[in-house]
Amino acid sequence: MLNPNLMTKTSIAWAVSSTILCLSAWSASDNENLERKIEGQENAILADAPNVPPPITRRHATKVIVNLEVKEVEGRLADGVRYTFWTFGGKVPGKFIRIREGDLVEFHLNNHPDNKMPHNIDLHAVTGQGGGAGASLTAPGHSSVFSFKALNPGLYVYHCATAPVAMHIANGMYGMILVEPADGLPKVDHEYYVMQGDFYTKGPNGQQGLQPFSMEKAIQERPEYVVFNGSVGALAGDGALTAKPGETVRLFVGNGGPNLTSSFHVIGEIFDQVWAEGNTSHVTQNVQTTLIPPGGAAITQFGLNVPATYILVDHALTRAFNKGALGMLKVTGPENKNIYSGKVSDEVYMPEGTNIRVTEQAAKAAPSAKTKIERVERGKNVFTANCMACHQGNGQGIPNAFPPLAASDFLNADKARAIKTVTGGLQGAVTVNGKTFNGVMPAWTLSDEEIANVLTYIYNSWGNSGKEVTPADVKANRAAKSKSAAGAQE
């Protein structure tokens, strides 16, 4: 093949020097991990979000056997909204995998026989054809095995890469693999796994029932939902992350996409450290909002100083407040007024718009009450979700702040005024049961049905007059207001 007649001294010199250059560049980056001796083997511990497997303590490279099962499951995307998720391990995001640089991974991708679709996997930690996708296209009821060496440390996304890729990813087929640097990561009190994704449903946001995937919306990049960890509210309420003041929290944050870049921010906190884009060697300090591209990740770390409910958001804010990109980190413990003196309590924290979201969905889920007793029952739920934070569980209010609703002369004297207080808000001094209050009651964007129910509940609790308020009453009351918005509210 080599024709000596065509070789000149110049080309020989060029060939030799570029070979030397290439070899030296190669040895600087991957050489160590290529040479690492593999000792023993172990089965990987996988974890479901928001948890992660424990930190690696071993000081040698080993063979790690990973068994990851693909499962197509129907589940909740939002209240009353169902979706068929395609998952790695049964949930969105997929299982968190944790290994160490230099490890040799034997990867088993198992496609459950009940599944309809073929699937494969591309792990961004893999150096090789398709990141593993080249070796793992698997039909339902079958399994593919391939192995790779983790040459680079970092926090990497993995996802299905079966065409059409955007559809597989849009259905939830993403997760993360952490390749720890050889010396590990510094110790923190809590490590959590958060992954953002955009969802494209045929019906608009909030439409109930099982929603099919919308190809058009996906191609146009117009998601109906943008969520953390696979569903609206996955990281809220009982699912909220927790910590205590004085503790450090590390968030492994990924973005499965398929399309949207995340502007990741935790309201009320500053990231003391960010390892941008999932790298583990270069830290940036004191970051408010960090960009996480689809198919990318970031490690954020911060110490907690004061109790609060810190809100995780995509700071492209309509995604947080209208599409679900909102999560919570609840920190409870002793206050530190030097750092934050304001009166903040868990329940009262309601960023503009979230209430609207929650109540609109409740409206769609519940059919109308037919009897007074039904009204009282339903009204209790509305009260708990919206009023209890200020007016307290037994309607006793908070002295000097929020008036009582229990045995309230203000309420019992004037039903129309009571309705107006809810629909239009109330400012200025009011006297209730002999005490003066000068606060601000916001207007509530609740349906006529909900307002009727909650007022009926209040009127029939804690020694109040026992009136009933109907949706028709509320509707008439709105119409009578000179400043009410035109058109019927839902």
């Binding site: 054809q129 080249g134 009821g141 079958h142 079966t162 190809m215």
Partner: protein, 262 residues
């Protein structure tokens, strides 16, 4: 005399066919735009308009997928295709797993459902025993294409089917309306084997299709899909690409086709 008759019939028994051929309809000659464009081998001029329609000659296609009952008749007559007899080279361990035994279904209702958990070898053998063949991918896609009628609606229906998890209980064949050719159940019931399911050169991960990988594939020119936004079709090609001939899956069945006799 009687003994030689007995001998003769014993000799003939392996060759007895089961029930008569499945109901079929003629599909007229025509053309359709294939998902992957036509290619000429390396060294020859590539087709001027690679994304042109592929001609499909007239043929006959089964109206419905082959049912469990029909397949049962086949294995009764052909013992080497029974679940406990079949060579592992011809079907994997899940072959006919949903049947109660070699020669019995779990219930009468199963009889009308499309047979699934059959490999390509088994499906091809069934069709040949009926004097037919599996349809080619072109024939099958052309029949589904239905002259382009209802294209958007069908895409939606197919995507909706992908969006639902596998039904725990398969529907019986023939319940949904036929298409313009009088063929039923080409979509939204099961995946189906084709004669040349292994004819697309797309690699395990289709993202690198479009780069000539001459080491892996001889003559594989660029493999750009015709309409990468047709997720419904794209998925079918990927599904077929994930199969090996011995695979069986719970929602993969087949139907047969025949050349049009003059």
């Amino acid at each position: 005399m009687r003994s030689s008759l007995l001998l003769a019939s014993l000799l003939a028994s392996p060759f007895l066919l089961g029930a008569g051929p499945g109901v079929e309809r003629p599909i007229p000659a025509g053309s359709y735009l294939p998902f992957y464009p036509a290619r000429a081998p390396l060294g020859k001029a590539q087709p001027e308009a690679p994304r042109k329609a592929v001609a499909v000659g007239a043929f006959r296609l089964d109206v419905r997928p082959v049912t469990n009952r029909e397949y049962l008749a086949f294995v009764k007559a052909n013992p080497e295709w029974r679940r406990s007899e079949i060579g592992r080279v011809f079907a994997d361990g899940s072959y006919l797993k949903h049947w109660r035994a070699d020669l019995s279904l779990r219930s009468r209702a199963e009889g009308d459902k499309p047979v699934t958990r059959v490999s390509w070898f088994a499906a091809a053998a069934y069709c040949r025993a009926r004097g037919k063949e599996l349809p080619t991918t072109d024939q099958w896609e052309y029949a589904l294409d239905d002259g382009g009628h209802r294209a958007e609606r069908m895409k939606d229906e197919i995507l909706a089917w992908y969006s639902r998890p596998n039904d725990k209980v398969l529907e019986a064949v023939g319940r949904k309306p036929a298409n313009g050719y009088g063929i039923q159940d080409l979509h939204a019931l099961i995946w189906e084997w084709t004669l040349d399911f292994n004819s697309e050169m797309s690699g395990s991960e289709a993202r690198s299709d479009g780069t000539k990988d001459e080491n892996l594939f001889c003559g594989a020119g660029s493999l750009n899909a015709r309409d990468p936004s047709d997720y419904a079709k794209f998925m079918r090609y990927q599904f077929r690409g994930s199969l090996h001939a011995d695979y069986t899956t719970g929602n993969l069945g087949f139907r047969c086709a025949r050349e049009e006799t003059k």
